[in-house]
Amino acid sequence: MKKQLTLQKEFLKGVWDNNPVLKQLLGLCPVLAVTVSAINGLAMGLAATFVLFMASLLISSIRKTIPPQVRIASFIVIIATFVTIVDLVMKAKFPDLSKALGPFIPLIVVNCIILGRQEAFASKNNTGRALLDALGMGLGFTIALIILGGIREIIGSRTFFGLQILPNQFEPWLIMILPAGAFFTLGLLLGLVNIYTDRKKRLEHESLIAHYKRVGREELIEELEVK
């Protein structure tokens, strides 16, 4: 019997522990491409979250009726439909943002995060959990986009969400807006995430060892070391 997470954990896992970008390394294409500014990152995050939400909603609801052989094709058509809807709505109501995000809105279709969650979760869980999962993953994705977009915008244009943060004396690093800057920033960010995660694991490990020593159960330490 698979251990089920609490509803709260189901939502939160996508935000940090299992963050689709920072931990699972999924959906990197749009993360690198649209994060020239924080607001572009936010817009992309919201668009992708909407598609993920709707797809998870629909697919988890009809999951029992989809034969396994055609599930990937079905997922893809459903995802593509919602992506087209987002694309059309953005072109109609937010033309400037649509132009800024360019072809990356249609590319949400092949965003591995969305297809991945349908395959790994929405098609195997009830609608309630699937929606929590979708919202969590979407939020995690959006946060990663805003962080990356924010860093690149602040250092590359002196602004954050369009508001100037750094003084005019600061010469913006043009490279941040170029592809190379995107790669560097994401690479460094992932490295930092790893440093933080490793350190946290090490501290937990050490405190667990100290705990075992205190309660006199040293034999458990060996088991720990093996892990």
């Binding site: 020239v36 009726t65 989809i66 034969p67 052989q69 055609v70 094709a73 079905s74 058509v77 459903i78 593509a80 439909t81 087209t84 809807i85 059309l88 709505v89 072109k91 109609a92 109501k93 033309p95 132009k99 360019g102 043009l174 807006i177 170029l178």
Partner: protein, 188 residues
């Protein structure tokens, strides 16, 4: 056999629902998208023809050109929307032209996906300011690395020669087409 039928039914239903949903949303969105484009073009027309107060589209197939009128309802000139290939993709621009097509009033780049920080400088002054009052005869020319010496010449951007040359080529192409149409009498 039953499984295959079920697969077909599921796929077809999803397909039909998807198609229907998209057709509906598209029906709602398309007019709005057209309105957005029209509003954007209108704003651009008045930016490249500052004297303009009114405009009407000239009926020529394959060419998007507008006749612009000033406050006294006299002809102030034309506004031509034209595009062509730049360095990374298509460059779309609008050019305000004098009535006799001999001068550019001003230009504006509408769409481009050139290299950020380099090619994108074609959207900024001082590049675009070079085109104000630029002569178009016999055609617009460019020079690299030196100040322009002729009234129909502009200087390319350092590090963005191709984008700059593309803008010149697009303008020449569009304006020469207009001039030909005027000679043949189709452009009034």
């Amino acid at each position: 056999m039953n499984k295959v039928i079920q697969m077909l039914i599921v796929l077809t239903s999803i397909g039909i629902l998807s198609g229907g949903l998209l057709a509906t949303v598209s029906g709602w969105a398309d007019p709005l998208i057209l309105l957005n484009q029209k509003a954007a073009t209108e704003a651009a027309i008045f930016r490249v023809q500052p004297e303009g107060k009114n405009y009407e589209q000239v009926n020529i197939t394959g060419l998007e050109v507008y006749k612009v009128f000033n406050g006294n309802n006299e002809e102030a000139g034309y506004a031509l929307v034209y595009d062509g290939n730049g360095f990374s993709g298509k460059i779309k621009l609008i050019a305000g032209l004098s009535k006799d097509l001999k001068n550019i009033i001003s230009i504006e780049i509408l769409d481009q996906i050139e290299t950020p920080g380099l090619g994108t400088k074609i959207t900024e002054q001082p590049f675009t300011s070079q085109f104000v009052k630029l002569e178009t005869n016999p055609k617009i020319e460019w020079i690299k690395g030196a100040e322009p010496t002729k009234p129909n010449e502009i200087q390319t951007i350092t590090g963005a020669t191709i984008s700059s040359k593309a803008v010149v080529a697009i303008l020449n192409d569009g304006i020469s087409r207009l001039k030909k149409l005027r000679e043949s009498g189709e452009l009034k």
